[in-house]
């Protein structure tokens, strides 16, 4: 029931929002709906955390072996919580922005939330594919209608890119279904499959391509900086905070346990190497960016690259690190976007070269900015430290990795590079002397303080006491690794 509500509330309230005529009514309604979703999600974590409440199943397409089957497991809980927290924060932090045809904007936002929830909940491959696309379509319209100047070309590139990937994934999923004895799309049937190595190899590529584009893993990342830059900031938050997690999530849920030998064969030797190259490349590019949106976009490629490497190291602590880091990265990058949004609204620019000296004019914002920036560098006591530390440990101690002496130092370099570009950004924005643009700057308002306050509290709480999150994801991690590590022979 809880799981069903998590999809239905945003879906129905999203459809209803299309019929609102007043901008403020639509805005308030969207905020209200997203807060209700958050409440439901929190209830599911605490009071109503019972198995029968967390799952829901009914017939959907019996002829095709597909059913409407959703369930909240530990990893799902974490990502649904991230989605549920993000949307109210997004709505509050962009509260002062006005949109043309606002009711359509908020309706599409809520629909994309429904799609995201569905992806994290689906326990049926076809349903998973449905939601995967449902999350994408509203975002396409959001970015194309309300985006910046080059929006049409940039979003179209993004759309075609992801659509090609997801269609190939669909072929992979159908092929897997045709291999199951009961011809079913149910995740249990998929997990029960034992496919020979050669078949696994090419199904792996059919499916991984979709996920690699979504994450994005180098060299499939070229849509990302453009799409982030051209989308309205509220949408960029959804894209970078939550949507990229779909790719990582799908690798963990739908790839590793179903195609273990192919994941082993290509994972560390190939994909991790790509990810490492991408991390260094993206970090270097981020260093040289002047536009804050592009800088954060490239930093996101670097951060997600590390998570990919950690996933394919297939170690327990690394995997748990990935899960907790998916949550943390979502929160941290959301914080950065909120800052960008404030700067852009107040000063009309995102260019580092045109900003400066804001520490004097907006001290509260400066404090929040510094904390969030430090969390992005993974300083101890912040949430990202926990995640990254666990991932590094996982990669280093993994039973199956052979190149950890190569990957760990290379990834370590990107942490240093990360510190360089993030601190450079902080320095250029809030230190130095004020210029003509920032001279008249004022500090942030109450709702921005509220949003940034919540984010900073989350950063520190998770950084100091991550244990509840680790407990939450332990079962999923054990289960996935149990399925994935079918080959004790390969172990060192």
């Amino acid at each position: 029931m809880i799981s069903l509500l998590l999809i239905l509330i945003p879906l129905l309230s999203g459809v209803a929002t299309f019929f609102f005529k007043k901008e403020n009514a639509a805005k308030s309604w969207a905020l209200f709906s997203s807060i209700v979703t958050l409440a439901i999600s929190l209830l599911g974590l605490t009071v109503l955390n019972k198995t029968e409440l967390l799952q829901f199943k009914c017939d959907w397409l019996p002829g095709l072996g597909s059913s409407f089957s959703i369930r909240l497991d530990g990893m799902g809980q974490l990502l649904c919580l991230l989605t549920a927290i993000s949307f109210p924060l997004i709505f509050i932090s962009t509260w002062n922005r006005t949109y043309k045809n606002a009711h359509n904007f908020f309706a599409l936002m809520l629909l994309s939330q429904a799609g995201l929830m569905g992806v994290f909940l689906a326990m049926d491959a076809l349903l998973f594919y449905f939601f995967w696309e449902l999350a994408l379509i509203p975002v396409y319209f959001l970015s194309s209608i309300w985006g910046a100047e080059r929006r049409i070309a940039a979003t179209f590139k993004f759309f075609i890119y992801t659509f090609v990937g997801s269609l190939l994934m669909l072929v992979g999923l159908i092929y897997l279904q045709s291999l199951t004895p009961d011809r079913s799309f149910d995740i249990k049937s998929f997990y029960a499959l034992a496919i020979n190595g050669k078949t696994q190899n090419w199904i792996f590529w059919l499916m991984f391509l979709a996920f690699a584009i979504k994450i994005p893993v180098f060299p499939f990342h070229s849509w990302q900086p453009d799409a982030y830059e051209q989308s309205p900031t509220a949408v960029t938050m959804v894209l970078s905070g939550i949507m990229v997690k779909m790719g990582l999530f799908a690798v963990i849920r739908w790839l590793l346990p179903v195609l273990p030998s192919a994941s082993f064969a290509f994972g560390e030797k190939m994909i991790s190497m790509w990810a490492i190259v991408g991390m260094i490349y993206a970090s270097l590019l981020a260093w040289r960016q002047d536009d804050m949106k592009r800088l954060i976009a490239y930093s996101s490629i670097a951060h997600l690259g590390l998570m990919v490497v950690a996933i394919f190291s297939e170690s327990e602590i690394g995997m748990q690190g990935v899960m907790i880091q998916m949550f943390n990265h979502g929160i941290n990058i959301l914080g950065l976007w909120v800052i960008v949004e404030i700067l852009e609204r107040k000063y009309g620019t995102r260019k580092l070269s045109e900003l400066g000296g804001l520490a004097q004019k907006a001290p509260a914002m400066a404090i929040f900015f510094v904390v969030i920036a430090l969390a992005n560098i993974a300083l101890p006591l912040t949430n990202a430290f926990v995640g990254e530390f666990m991932m590094f440990t996982g990669i280093f101690t993994s039973q199956i990795s052979e190149y950890e002496m190569l990957t760990v130092p290379a990834a370590g370099i990107t942490i240093i590079l990360g510190a360089i570009y993030i601190l450079r950004m902080v320095q250029k924005v809030i230190y130095g002397n004020t210029n003509s643009l920032t001279e008249t700057g004022t500090d942030i308002g109450v709702n921005e303080k509220l949003v940034l306050g919540i984010i900073v509290i989350l950063i520190i709480v998770v950084g100091v006491y991550p244990q509840p999150f680790l407990d939450l994801t332990k079962d999923t991690t054990d289960f996935i690794l149990n399925k994935a590590n079918l080959f004790p022979l390969f172990k060192k």
Partner: protein, 461 residues
């Protein structure tokens, strides 16, 4: 049988109605009533009610599949009448004749979806084709329409010749026109299929491929669809094409199903070519009407996958595919007819002037592109599933999905023009009943995309 006879009678009645009835709205009402009656009687026949008891054993067999498809075809025609019947007035003076011709085409559709003898197949295809030649050229003062008609007629007759030759050769091989006898004569595994049979089969395959505009027999399609009056293009590209597909599948399933291995590769190549040429050429079109012509070729490529697969998923799938494709394309054409400018630029700023029509058009375009939540997605899904279940043609499936991704490019160009570009789209007057009808059609497309059981439950029970 019920619907066949009613349609034939309606064809004759409509022909004379122009003499007796002066009011165009009465003519339209008469046509709608006649079609409605034949739909009702056709549904009644599914439940065992026969208005006429005529022995057609060996010539035709009305099984559940064909009756069900006939219902779909007639309901789509009904929707087509509701949306576009008024536009037919603008084509020419002979308003009632157009209805009459369409009723005759419906007779042909029923014949070719229910045949069990090659003779009836030939009759059905011809009864479909000849009125179409006339409809294509019905805009008499338009040179393009005349050219299209002539071109269609010449090439169409040529392919009819091929079909006749094929039927003759197959008759020579098995001594009968009946599908069962033909199937029996080739089902023995110890006998290798003879040269007569193979040649006949290929000729039949090519002529059917011509009729469904599969590559490399598609060259007539863009010119004919572009030249014909837009209302009739809508009918030709959807219901007629769907019916020929059903005939194609019925023929190859019943007569040549046992020697599937000998011809499956050729069909696979035709499918791949159709998908490739249709989609790639559609990308370069500047007019939406011509783009839709090429897109109909591309969609034919997907439907051919059912002929290739020849399994139960495929036959379920082709029912869903034809329904989804007909509804979306008829809806799109109905909107296109209202436009003054058929180029992509003509759609600029459409969403501002006609928000409802634009939203509906988006649903149709998404369905054609095969985006989830619309009927078009599940239809494509069924096709892919059918081919994978048949096994051995994974390369075709991967090609097909890549082509589907390309199709997004040209379908979304329309969406981009409507929503993201500024402009003054010139639209003719749109009545509120038109808006309601088209909104219902769009709702159907979504409903079938979420819950296709709606269609199939009815089919099976």
């Amino acid at each position: 049988m019920n619907a066949l006879i009613i349609s034939a009678i309606m064809g004759v009645v409509m022909m004379f109605s122009g003499v007796l009835l002066k009011q165009r709205s009465t003519i339209r009402g008469l046509a709608l009533t006649g079609l409605f009656v034949s739909i009702v009687l056709n549904v009644a026949q599914i439940y065992g009610f026969h208005l006429f008891r005529i022995n057609v054993t060996g010539m035709m067999s009305f099984d559940r599949f064909s009756l069900f498809f006939n219902t779909i075809a007639m309901v789509c025609t009904f929707i087509f009448f509701l949306l576009s019947a008024k536009e037919m007035e603008k084509v020419g003076l002979n308003y009632s004749d157009y209805f009459s011709l369409i009723f005759f085409i419906l007779c042909g559709i029923i014949l070719s979806s229910s045949f069990s003898s090659l003779l009836i197949l030939f009759l059905g295809i011809e009864i479909i084709s000849i009125p179409l030649y006339i409809l294509t050229g019905s805009d008499k003062r338009n040179l393009k329409s005349n050219e299209a008609s002539l071109k269609y007629f010449l090439l169409g007759s040529f392919s009819t010749g091929l079909m006749l030759m094929g039927i003759t050769l197959i008759y020579g091989n098995s001594g009968s026109f009946s599908l069962e006898v033909i199937a029996e004569s080739i089902s023995k595994p110890e006998i290798k299929p003879g040269i007569l049979l193979i040649a006949g089969l290929l000729l039949l395959m090519f002529s059917m491929a011509f009729k469904v505009s599969a590559a490399p027999f598609h060259f007539w399609t863009p010119d004919v669809y572009d030249g014909a009056p837009t209302v009739f293009t809508s009918f030709m590209a959807t219901i007629v094409k769907a019916a020929v597909f059903i005939a194609f599948m019925r023929l190859f399933n019943r007569a040549f199903g046992d020697i599937h291995d000998t011809w499956k590769f050729i069909i696979a190549v035709i499918t791949a070519l159709t998908l490739f040429i249709g989609n790639i050429t559609a990308v370069f079109q500047q007019s939406v009407k011509r783009m839709l012509a090429y897109s109909s070729i591309a969609q034919a490529g997907f439907m051919l996958m059912a002929v290739l697969a020849l399994n139960s998923i495929g036959s379920e799938g082709i029912l869903l595919y034809t329904t989804a494709y007909c509804l979306s394309t008829i809806g799109l054409f109905a909107i296109l007819v209202k436009m003054k400018d058929y180029t992509f630029e003509g759609f600029n700023g459409f969403a501002k002037h006609q928000p409802l029509l634009a939203a509906v058009a988006v649903i149709f375009l998404l369905s054609l592109a095969g985006i989830p939540l619309t009927a078009g997605f599940l239809a494509k899904f069924y096709m892919i599933n059918a081919v994978i279940a048949r096994g051995g043609f994974l390369w075709l499936v991967i090609l097909a999905v890549l082509m589907a991704a390309i199709s997004v490019y040209y379908y979304f160009r329309v969406i981009q023009a409507m929503y993201f570009k500024e402009g003054e789209a010139q639209v003719m007057e749109v009545s509120s009943s038109f808006k309601w009808t088209i909104a219902v059609v769009a709702a159907l497309v979504i409903l079938l995309g979420v819950y296709p059981q709606l269609l199939f439950n009815w089919f099976y029970f």
